[in-house]
Structure formats: structure tokens, C-alpha cells
Symmetry: D2
Subunit: 430 residues, 4 copies
Amino acid sequence: MPASANIPAIAQAHVSERAKKTLDLVEEFVEKECIPADATYLKQIGEGHAQRWSAHPPIIEELKTKAQKLGLWNMFLPKNHFSEGAGYSNLEYGLMAEILGKSRVASEATNNAAPDTGNMEVLAKYGNEAQKKEWLTPLLEGKIRSAFLMTEPNVASSDATNIQLNIRREGNEYVLTGQKWWSSGAGDPRCKLYLVMGKSDPHNSDPYRQQSVIIVPADTPGITIHRMMHNVRVPVSNLVLGEGRGFEIIQGRLGPGRIHHAMRAIGSAEKALEWMITRINDERKTTFGKQLSSHGVILEWLARSRIEIDAARLLVLNAAIKIDQGDARSALKEIAEAKVFVPAVTLTVIDRAIQAFGAAGISQDTPLAAMWANARTLRIVDGPDEVHLQQLAKRENKTRKDELAAKLRWQAERADQLLLANGFETKAKI
Amino acid sequence: MPASANIPAIAQAHVSERAKKTLDLVEEFVEKECIPADATYLKQIGEGHAQRWSAHPPIIEELKTKAQKLGLWNMFLPKNHFSEGAGYSNLEYGLMAEILGKSRVASEATNNAAPDTGNMEVLAKYGNEAQKKEWLTPLLEGKIRSAFLMTEPNVASSDATNIQLNIRREGNEYVLTGQKWWSSGAGDPRCKLYLVMGKSDPHNSDPYRQQSVIIVPADTPGITIHRMMHNVRVPVSNLVLGEGRGFEIIQGRLGPGRIHHAMRAIGSAEKALEWMITRINDERKTTFGKQLSSHGVILEWLARSRIEIDAARLLVLNAAIKIDQGDARSALKEIAEAKVFVPAVTLTVIDRAIQAFGAAGISQDTPLAAMWANARTLRIVDGPDEVHLQQLAKRENKTRKDELAAKLRWQAERADQLLLANGFETKAKI
Amino acid sequence: MPASANIPAIAQAHVSERAKKTLDLVEEFVEKECIPADATYLKQIGEGHAQRWSAHPPIIEELKTKAQKLGLWNMFLPKNHFSEGAGYSNLEYGLMAEILGKSRVASEATNNAAPDTGNMEVLAKYGNEAQKKEWLTPLLEGKIRSAFLMTEPNVASSDATNIQLNIRREGNEYVLTGQKWWSSGAGDPRCKLYLVMGKSDPHNSDPYRQQSVIIVPADTPGITIHRMMHNVRVPVSNLVLGEGRGFEIIQGRLGPGRIHHAMRAIGSAEKALEWMITRINDERKTTFGKQLSSHGVILEWLARSRIEIDAARLLVLNAAIKIDQGDARSALKEIAEAKVFVPAVTLTVIDRAIQAFGAAGISQDTPLAAMWANARTLRIVDGPDEVHLQQLAKRENKTRKDELAAKLRWQAERADQLLLANGFETKAKI
Amino acid sequence: MPASANIPAIAQAHVSERAKKTLDLVEEFVEKECIPADATYLKQIGEGHAQRWSAHPPIIEELKTKAQKLGLWNMFLPKNHFSEGAGYSNLEYGLMAEILGKSRVASEATNNAAPDTGNMEVLAKYGNEAQKKEWLTPLLEGKIRSAFLMTEPNVASSDATNIQLNIRREGNEYVLTGQKWWSSGAGDPRCKLYLVMGKSDPHNSDPYRQQSVIIVPADTPGITIHRMMHNVRVPVSNLVLGEGRGFEIIQGRLGPGRIHHAMRAIGSAEKALEWMITRINDERKTTFGKQLSSHGVILEWLARSRIEIDAARLLVLNAAIKIDQGDARSALKEIAEAKVFVPAVTLTVIDRAIQAFGAAGISQDTPLAAMWANARTLRIVDGPDEVHLQQLAKRENKTRKDELAAKLRWQAERADQLLLANGFETKAKI
């Protein structure tokens, strides 16, 4: 069954025919071209931490050429906000991102890879023409890569007001001083720019106006591989949007990115399930006289995985359509729900698949352990679960508490009236 | 915010303006009329098991009159299958059922209460004209109630082929002999008919052709309150649809009923959350110098409850629309997902609310304990979780295993070709 | 296998031969006399809330006579602190309490029932001779019952400093004013005294010196069944231990009581497991061609229940021996561990048994639903889980944080020295 | 507080003064010598899979010299079964193994590392004098290492009867043909012997007599790094114990080994907790104006971790003492309980610590991710959880079902007699 036939019933009306065709094409490209290329990609980037960050795997470039020919390029830029993209809604791209998430290379091969996607959104939305020409165009063409440097090693970065990197203007330059986690992509030789978040006005009484985002070319002097930025100088024209507008930028940046992460995670959960189903029907793997697929416990893992993935997908698609109908700000609740729920489900599903494989599940002979490790990061990046849960709860509580208290009080009084009118005693108050 | 404004973004396009208006009317009726009446209803049915089954609470009749005047009547009968109902889709009624589920009396007050709903569906769909006139009409008018007698005390009824009640034809009569759980509604004095499932052809080689459904008037001699049916005789004209067609009947009966149960359960989870939010902001209930709403653990309960309820609702609505687009048979997977996921979420959410209330949560001063007990039955009725999980898994496994095995094998071979072509060794096979 | 043969290996050395014999006798008494009497007891107390609190079931008195003849009486009073008891350690009585917990009537039949046990401890430890003579003696003889009134409806009683009942001295009397939950035992006609906790010095700067415990005879004027105490007057001689020493009293009272609750809960978990094992081997209850005991999922429930119960028991016994070796204060951590872990396990185990029984599991035909409801209260009474978890964590954190920080810092420095000495770079600091 | 002061109260009586002193010495050696050496060890074995298996880290040899001088050597061999060890019981060594488990190098540094420990037990228990002299002596001296080759890539090895490696006698030699997972230790250059399990009598009607264990010197021709053994020939004198006695050997081998694994895992859980406590009190890591240690959710993680670790430890120590009092066979239940419960707890505790650290938790800057990955293998090695759960359940079910059915039936009848005698109706039978 093609992917377009598997769209949840409740979402189908929201997917155009064009998007359905693209979705099926994405599926074919990922299953036939990308997933088989994953092993070669991993060999080309090599083993070991240092090695991994400096390699430039040629197979990616072959796949990028193929993807561009197929028109599978930059699907992530949503049609209602950007003219530069392929013209799909967040919900439509979400369905494609799920498929991309099944392969290590597919997102990059179609120029839909984080952190470039978020950075392209920032530049497209907030960059001036010069910045767009210099940085956005080659990013959209897949010629360079980029990084977003926000979190720092010495503070709890889950609270963005903790950021300490200092941005000081000196004449026509900004001088940056501080430390950043050397995050995803920053060490890639093709990475040509960093978007760096730091404090340009650390004493502003409004903590949400203290920060700015600056474009730092990767070859700027003063950047060391020990996560340090010391006396890094860039021209003032590299400021994005305006001083003190860093928060605004990251807020817009995070919404759709979380949908992408979540849908890719669902893709990896689906892939884990595919591997598990294949394993439990492997006729060589009988235990105690039965194939694994005859064991009730294994079947229950399969069923629960099916349910949990389907629930997770609906949460993400619901958040995506909410962004499509408004913007990320109006979908804060739905995005947070997906952000927290999806990684938990994904980890559980992959873990069950690992367990069904036994020793092979934790070996490099299956993609499962790597997928698990990747999914685990999702409970931390862009803010740990706990931060999102607390914020979600506080919003819900603040919005509803007064109305609910009044309603329950009114209902209790009315219930007492009815009790009395019918000859009963009133209820004890709690 | 009215209920119509809270419909999940992804579902909004599937709800007509008329249904939205009715939804808001349902909300007002439930919050203002039904919930305050619950306490009086409970007093009127009285305490104690025997008492509870024989009482006839007058407040219900008052509410029924009001509901009929408001046009809130028989909303459960879906418009694409029945002309007798109020003209809403399963998805639309699902949203209403959620609101009804917040009150003990609301479903009955609007003539949407189980097991009558399922029985009306059976009679409307499979009954002949005489049966409809005698039994369906007064049921639709809310003048009588009904019961469905399927499960039996001495067998594991979760496997319907285990049913043992014997149905034997003697001349113009069917003679029924066996035991049934004296299930929901059967003891109500207004209950005038039982739909009884039993074996009319116990030796048929096809186990799904052994059973029939018969209408048994409640006043037929031979029925005792000890769950026994001995020598119960009814005219052959009381057979529904045809001999050996019992399975067909119950399969059609169960799909929408599970949606109703599930949405009502979600309503009770929402109500538990309302009570919890009110409690944690109660200024008298401070612990260790803080209101409960300032405790991180409590806020996490609130957030997780919000997420889980929203995921559960999407699963049910997705199942509902799948039934709307086809029938219950085409939505087996989606219905099973909702059937298993929703009660688990509901129980968890109510349990957290209970814990937030402490002693009051397990007392009769809050509706929480009763709501929990009711939700607990949902993991058992209409088949325990485990049966649905096994069936769901077996279907998924059977449908997909061959295709997936072939795909993964092809991908592994293609991956090896690419590895060799790029100068690497092939991967170990597992 | 007798109970004495089932004592965990690690606990056996701590159980005297005399206690082992008593343990087996308790088992025989509970299994042969008490459990069969439970149904009659429930009938005798009757249905309905009001009814339940006023009945005096005669079968209890028959069992008490038998228990006294067998020497099974007051085993709860630990030998190293009290001379009035039967001479067992907390660990030894813990094993007996587990057996008692399998029956509704056994604890009371052997005069080991809460809240009398805790009240007897208080009176034995803190009461003066007159108080002992008037109240302790008949309690030890099982002639009267008692209640402990601490929690209040309008405050979060989990924080005992919130208690608001006012105790004011007027001449030779204390005057009590306030509200209390009408807690376990208080409505029993045999209940002759309440130990009431309230604030005698509400403005004392030390919140732990504000409270006192007073003996209030049940027939004192001014007590209403609506939880009110208004102008209740008792002689000053009814003060226990001294003014402002209420906290001291409840602290000593709670330790062993929590062990008793926990071990009885383990008994009910074991009983649920017994019922489940019997059910899954019931040959009439086959599903899909297999007995329940052949289903892998059911077997996994059985195995996990076995493991979790055994882990829970070890936690309680470890807490009990810690109390035996010192006192409840030195075992705060161990008691809190048992207090939180045991109810969670018990609820899970009973819930699995309910699910294995299906409809019968939630009916009154099995003891499971009642056992579940009782176990649920344990997550709330004597302080909800959350309070114990926070206190446990704060103690652990406070005690260890400085030492651990110093150790890890030293290890990191030493690790760097070794890295350098072996020709490697030092590690990044986090 | 020294480790000897932290022994659970219930276990203290089972630990000799000599063992307590050694325990404290182990703690000092591990905390001061081993943990700081872990980073250097990891650098010396290097990155990358191939590299890792061939390196010979010199720091281990330095530590071994120190450990031998301190008398910390071969503590794993239990005193009641072996004269070659250091003279401790399984329970005593268990407490030491917990400490060893905090360091990557400590077990090997004290010659208590798997799989050598199990292999030494096999050779000490079942080897003949020649085998002992050639292989056991250098193993006990820490001069060589060893591997145990049991699981195979193409079968579900969790069911040991599935093993397929063929052992055929030809004259004075055994010829081995088949595949084995290249398991822990087998690639170490110091690994000089493999104990290989295979089928010497594959058609024996008793599946537990088909297998044998053979000593294969690591330099025997025919062994390839691709997990193949083809035409590998060893002298018949390398047979251990006797043909067809392989099952007997592995059964004796697995009991204590599981205790070691479990206690080391508990050590790593304790270490994770130490890191977490240090992190949450790090003053630089405040979020939303509070240190992490002030967040209720974090405190709950700490408390639950404390409880779960303590419960897990008691389960293992109870299993250890059961082995000490009899043998592994008599402790099957207790060992299985520890085998399943401990890894689950360990993974949960480490995962919480990871989450508290955020990005650092999944980086190489903390030991947490590596500890998690190691603990994950414990749910698979020596049989996956599911196999142990099923076996545990089947044993429990088989042993108890008849007795329980009879007891419950008797109690139900007796309950009916009492009901009738007291004037009530009997209960419905289920």
C-alpha cells in the first residue's frame, strides 16, 4: 500500500492530490535509494568522534542530484509563509518527513535536514536581502550547511534566559565572547555559517529583549574546537532582524522544527516496527517450539506499538494543521504535546524491537540501537520534556482555573437546590 | 470557550455548522441541567445493590422532557446509515458523547444511553417491520429500556464462540436454556426486552454460524433473578435477522458502541481534570507553604493528562470518521486502538485527580471514585484489552509480514551492492 | 508449604522458632477461620454507608474468642518497646500481618486492627497510669475500639502543620472546636474514645510545638455526625504526654503502623495472586482454544506480580528490622520506601487479577474490587505518596550532596592527572 | 559513610567482619584508583570497533598489581564451593561487586571480570586436573583471559536447545563447525581460550543431553573473525566434564554470574544517582530561578530511584544468600527475580540522571550514556527478560495451582456454610 493510502482518515481531507503524489514519490526514493545507501554513508563518515565530524560522504551528493531531478527538494518550507519552498503545508510535509525519518541520509539528500531547515526559515523570514543572497541562496541550493549555536555547557540552557555568551558592539563590529556546545552540524566541513544566539543587552529589564542572533561565518578567527568563542568579530551587518530580537527569532524557529523532528521520529518508530515484524516471522528464530510471532507477549508489543505510533502521529498532524491555520504561536499547546509524547513513544517502540532481536538488536547489524540513541536526544534538544510539561501545565492552569472554579461552585449550589427540592439533604462541602 | 471552539484543529473540517450548534447546546444542557441533577439521581436510585436495580428515579423523566424540547434526542444514530436518528455523523455524535460522558444522567436523558443505543441500532438495521413497531418505536421514544444478554458466568465470554446458552426450536417457539450475566440495565423496571445471544446450531462446522439473536420480552416466564434462563419460550417471530446470524449482528453492533463508550470516557477524564484544576488552585489547600498548583509534580500530572486525553480523543475521532467513510468492519483497527487506549488514559487521569484530592478523592464527596470504577469496567466489557490487542496484532502481522520481509531483504542486498561499489565490505547478515 | 517455610532467605535468621510457630498458627487461623467468615461479616455489617458504620457484626466476637484461646492476640506490640504485647519483633509481627491482611476480619479478630493498634501504642508509650487504666486496658482486651482524628476536610492535611482544630484551656477543661474527617472506626458503636490532634498553641514560633493530642470520650457532648466538634469539653487530665507534644506523638505512632499497613497490603496482593492462579487454571475458562494459563501475557502478569511482591516484602521487612534495631526515627528512609512502594505494587497485582477475571473481577463475586479500593487508600492515608517522596528526596539530597560533589570533583581531577601522565588530553569539564 | 555502614539492615547479620573490612577496602580502591583510571582506560582501548577489540590497555596491568597487593583478588569464588577464591560468600561478594560495578576497570583489575569468572567456576568445578593446570591457573592469576561462546547469530539462542554448532568426534579430536556471536572478550589479544557450547549428540531424544562444552585454544586454526568456526579441531582431552553434559555446565555457571551482573548494575545505578545528585545541586545550573534540586519533579526522580535501587539490591542479596544456603538450582526463583528486576531499575535510574544532565547526559562528558548502553544488554544476555518471566511463571503456576484451587474451593464452601448458619443466602459461584 502506498504511503498516500495510509494517511489517517481524519487527515486525508487536508492533503492535496499533488502532495499525495509527492508523498508516494518520497516513499519510493527513501525505500529504494536512501535506506540502501545508509550503510555506505556510515562507512564513509567513518568511526570515531573526530573522524565523524570531518568526513564528507560522497554518496550524499549522488543522492542530492537524484532528489533534485525528482523534484524532492526543500519540501519543508510551508507554502503559506514562504515562496522559496516546494509549496506544501506543514501537515503535508509532516507526512513526508515521517518517510524521510526512516533513513539516515534522506533528509539531507532532499535538503530537508536540521539544523539547516530552521536556519533557512530564520533567514527567509528575518534576514535582509544581503543576508539572504549570501547565505540563504546557497543553503536552499544545498551547497553549504549551517549550525545554530544556542546551548552552552556551563548553564542550564533549557531556560534560554540563562544564555551567557556576550555580544558587544565595537564600532562596525560585534565582538562575541563565550562558550557554546559544538552542536549538530557545526563540525561538518561544509558548514559555512553559524547562527549564534547571545546577550547583546544583558541588563535589559525585560529578559526577553536581552538577546540577539548574529551570523558568524565559520572561518571567522577566534573560534576554537574547544567550544570557545573568544574575541570573535563579525560586521554589524550580520545581525539578524535587530538587536534584542533573539527570542522572537527562536520562537518562530522552533515550532515547525519540532514537527519535523517529531514526524521523523515517527518514521523511525515505523521502521523499528517493520524490522520487528520481519524478525518475529523469521522461521529460523523459533523459541520453545514457537515462532516469536506466536508468543502473546510479542504480539502485545506489536499491538501497543501500533496504537501508540498512531496516537502520536495524530498529535503531530493536529499540531501541524494548527500551525497551517495560524502560526506556531497559536499552536503552542499542540506543538508541546507532540514534542513530549512522540519521543516517549518512539523510544518505547524501538526498545521493544531491540528486545525482539536480542543480541542483534544492540549490535551494529540492525539500525535499532543507533535509532534509539538518536530518539533519546529528542527528549532533551529544544528543551527537555520537563520544561515543556511545566509550561504546558502552567498555561492550561492559568487559562482555565477561574472559569472552572466558578462553574463547579455554581454546579454544587444548583445540585444542593435540586437535592432539597427532591427531599434530600445537601451534600457535604469539600 | 464553547465546546465547538475546542474541536481539535484536524477534526474541524469534518463537523457541520449544525452539529457545532448542537454540540454547544449539549454542553449547556449537560453543564447546567444534568451535572447538577446527578446527586439527586444517585439519591433517588438509593444505596445498596438490590435497591439500585429496582428504583425509577423521577428526575430522569424531567430531564428527558427538557432534552426532547431542545431537540437533543437520539443523536447517536448516524445519518449515513439510519433515517430514524437526529442526523449526525459518528464523528459529530462522538464530540457530543464526550460532553454527555461528564454526567451520570445525560446519556439517558437524551436517549443516547447504552445498552439501548446498540439495541436500537440492531433493531433498526436487522429487525423486521413487526419487531421495529413493537420494540424499536418505544425505544426511540424513550418509553422503555432494553438489555443485551451475551456474556455468561461460567465461560470466558471474551471469546464469543464460548457462549453456551442453548436455543432450540420447538414448533413455533424457541426454547432458551442457560445462564447469562445479569448485565447493565436488565434489572431496571423499565427494561422491557432482552436481546439474547445463544447457540441455535451448536454443531455447525463454522463457529461463526452457530449463534442467533432472539428478542425475549422481560416478562417471559422462566427467567429468574439468579441469572438463569430455564425453559424460556418465545415465538419464532422474535428471531432477529435469521438463524445463525448472531455474529453478524454483534459485529455491526459493537463498532459505534465502542466509539460512544470511548468518547464518554474522555468526557469523564476531562471532568476529572476540571476537578483537579479547581482543587490545586484551592487557596485553603496549601502544603508546605505552597498551593498544590505550584508543585512541579502536580503540574506534570496536569500536563501529561492534557496530552494523553488529547491523543486519546484524536484516536477515537479518527476511528469515528473511518466508520463514517465506510463501516465498522473497515475501521476494525482504528476502533480497537480507541477501545484499548482510551480507558487506560481515562483511568490514569482520574487516578491523578483522586491523588490530588487525597481523602476527598476516595470519598463520596467527589464524583472521582465512581468515575474511576466505571472507567475500569471499560477494560473488560465488549472484550478485555488483551483480546483486542491480540487480534489487532495478528491482523497487522498477517497483512504486512510478507511484504516487509521482501522489502527488507531487497534493501539489504541493495545496501551490499552499494557498499561493494564504494569499496567497503558487505554487512554481516543476521 | 507452611508460611514459616516461605520466609525470604535473607530474613530467616531474624525470626525466632517461637515466632515461626505462631506464624503458622496465624496462617491456619486466617485461612480456615477468618477468610470463610469474611462473607458473613460483610452481610452482617450490611450495605449502605449509614448502615455500615452502625452495625456490630457478631461473627467478629466469635472469632475473637477463638483467637484469644489460640494465643493469637496483640501480636503487634513489639517486644523491645512494650511489655503489654505478645512478645514479637516488628519483623516477626510483619510476617504475621501479611497473613492477617488476606482476610477482612483477621486483624480485628486478633486485636491487631488499625487504628486501635496505633492508639494502643500511643497510650502505652505516652499515656499516664490513669489514662492507661481507663482506656488502654479495655483496648488491649478488645472490649472497646478507638479512633485517631487528625485530618480535616478544609485543609491539606498531608502537611500536618495545617491542622486547624483549636484546643483552648478553660480552667480544668480543654475546649475543642473544629472539623475532622470522620475517619476509620469513628462511627463504630464500640468506638469509645477518640485521640484528637489539634492546636493548643497556634502562635508558637516553632510549628512543631503548636499541637497537642487529647483523649475525647466518644460520648462527649458537642460532637456531631457532620464532622463538627463545637465546644467539646474534656478534663485537662485527658491531655496525652503534654501540651505542644502532638508532633512527637504522631511521629512515634506512624512508623510501625506503616509497616502493618504495608504487610497487610502484601497479604492482599498475595491473595489476589492466589485467586488469579486459580482462575487462569479454571478449565471452563478457555479462550481461543487455550486456558488462560497458556497465554504468554497472563504468565507475564504472574511472573511480574511474583517479583514485585517479593521485592516489596523485602523492603518492608528491612524497614521492620531497622525499627527493631533502633526506633522508627532511625528508620525514616526505610519506612518511607515501604510506604510508597508497597501500595503501588499491591494495586498493580490486584488490577492484573481483576483483568484475568473479567466481569467477575469487578463484581462482588470476588474480593478483588474491594481489595483494590482498600489498597488505593494506602496511597493517601498517613500522607500521600508525594509528600513521602519529597521528604525522602530532600533528606537524601541534603545528607549526601556536599560529600558527593567533593568526591566527583576529586575524581575528575585525578582522572585528568592520569590522562596527562599517559599522554592524553584532559577531558572537557561539564 | 563507609560501604560497610550502608549494608541493608536485614543483610548485616550475614556479613562477616572480615568481609566488611574488605568491602571498605574495595570501596577505597574503586573510588580512588579505578574510577579515576576509567578515562585513561577508554583512551587506551581507543575509538572504533576494530580498535577496541585489539588494544591492550596498560593501565589495567598497573591496577592489577595494586589490587593483588591489597588482597583484592578473585573475591567472586564463593567460599562454600571453591577453595581457590578469597573466601567470601556470594552475598558478601555481591556487596563488593556493587562497588566494582561503579568503574569500568575495577572488575578486571581485581580479577572478578566476566566472562572469566564464570569460566573459572566451570573449570574449577568441572575441569580435570590437566585442564585446571593449563587454563584455570593462569586465569586465576590474571595472566590470560577467556570467552564463552554459546549464542549464535542464526537462531534464537534464548532457547539453548536451538544451538546448532556441530561437535563431531574424529579419532582423538573433536571437529567443530558452526557460527557463534563473537562475544564479550573473544577479540581481546589476551584471550587465550574459548569455552564452546555445541551439539555433540544432536539426535539424542533428551534435548538436555545433546550438548557439550569444549575448550578451544584461541589460536586453533579454522577460527575466523567472521564468527565462523569451520573444521576447528581440538584434542578430545579438551572436553569438559563429559559428552552431553553441556546443559549441566551452563546451569551451574549462570546462577552466581547473574548475581554478579545484577550487583554491578546496581553499582552503576548508584553511580548514576551520585552524578545526578551532584548535578542537581550545581549552582550554575539554575532553571527558571531555581536550582534543579528545588524542582519537585527532580526530587521525585531522586526518591523513586532511591526506593527502586534499594528494592533491587534486596532482591539480589536474597538470591545470593539463597545460593549460599544451597546452590543455584534451589535459588532459581530468586535468581530470576533479580535477573529481570535489576536491569529495569538500573536503566530507569540512569535514564533519569541523563535527563537531569540534558545534553551532557548523552555526551561523552559523563559516563551515563555508556552505562545505559551496558545496562541495556543485561535485559538480553543470559536469556532475555521474557524467557525468564515465562519460566518463572510456569514454575510458580505448576507448583501452586492444585493446592490453591483446592483451598479456595474449600473456603468458598465453608463461607457458604457460615452464611447459611447466620441466616444469609449463599454467594453466587463464579
